[in-house]
Symmetry: C2
Subunit: 159 residues, 2 copies
DNA sequence: GACGATAGACAGCCTGGCTGTCCTTGTCCA
DNA sequence: TGGACAAGGACAGCCAGGCTGTCTATCGTC
């Protein structure tokens, strides 16, 4: 097989984009037109415990200022609320609102459907194998979220 | 396995980023510090025949104006030259310079090394299988290059 | 009590997308 | 042959998301 390393990278990108593009479209069709994948991922991280801007930044591997921008959008749209932390006056605790959870559930469902579609394409056993290998190769490490950024500028330390 | 569809997407993104980040770093170490993956991909497309801004845009699935910006950078850095097309006065023909090819060769080599590293991790046969499945799932379709953009805004028609 | 670390916010900047508009040049058909 | 329409390229203007640097308030620790 004369496939090159660059092709491999493109396939991975293509796969990601395919999934995410489809999910975004479907989410819009279901009425959540102002939600972008990055918002979904951020809410997920917040719900999982990254309840401050700095935390979120670390979690998503972006600068805290970038995280703060995303948070501002989420707050503005009612997906997240920001309230003072009773134990630390410096912090503003983040919480996903019911509406936010609604979007997350919807997004999760869509992604799962897409995954099942892939599963059917390969067959269950093959797919499980594929997914396991992918996980093995990529590792459970954190994933950065930007891209034009990183693509154009390279990666710098964050936060 | 309780892996979710969103995880799958993140694994793909993680894989892509892992490869590309490593490649960019290595390229910088070898002295090409102003080259970004997007430039490499663009040159590849140009060398493969996308010899005008509009072509390149279609090929990379970005608007021709975006392609034009990238081209401007490549020209400025001496990786690509732009000359009038003798057969069509509207077009400016693009050509990769020797320096550009040098970078491409270097990038290709790095990507290949990374691919071989993955190959070792899974074993040759397993890896071939993995790659084949990935290709099958993603399809040979074109891959868009942007990301923060598309991640934040979704995708619109291009060119 | 003082110093260093951390959270958050402001300002400013960059890159890379996109759109719209305009002009030039080709093409194709009446 | 002329006119309509398509296509290439370039300009201007806008947006999102990242980053850095700087500042203040607050915590924690010595």
């Amino acid at each position: 097989m004369s496939r090159s390393g660059a092709d491999l990278a493109l396939l991975l990108l293509g796969g990601f984009r395919g999934l995410v593009d489809a999910a975004t479209e479907e989410l819009a069709r279901r009425g959540y037109q102002d939600v972008r994948p990055v918002h979904d991922f951020a809410m997920r991280a917040i719900a999982a415990g990254a309840d401050s801007a700095s935390d979120l930044g670390r979690n998503l591997s972006v600068a805290k200022q970038s995280a703060a921008k995303t948070i501002a959008v989420l707050v503005e749209r009612g997906y997240v609320i920001r309230e003072p932390d009773p134990h630390d006056a410096r912090r503003k605790r983040l919480q996903v609102t019911p509406l936010g959870f609604e979007v997350m559930r919807e997004g999760e469902a869509i992604f799962d459907e897409l995954r099942i579609r892939w599963q059917r394409q390969l067959g269950t056993a093959e797919f499980a194998n594929f997914e396991g290998q992918l996980a093995k190769l990529v590792g459970a490490g954190s994933v950065r979220f930007d891209t034009p950024g990183w693509m154009a500028r390279g990666l710098d330390g964050s936060a």
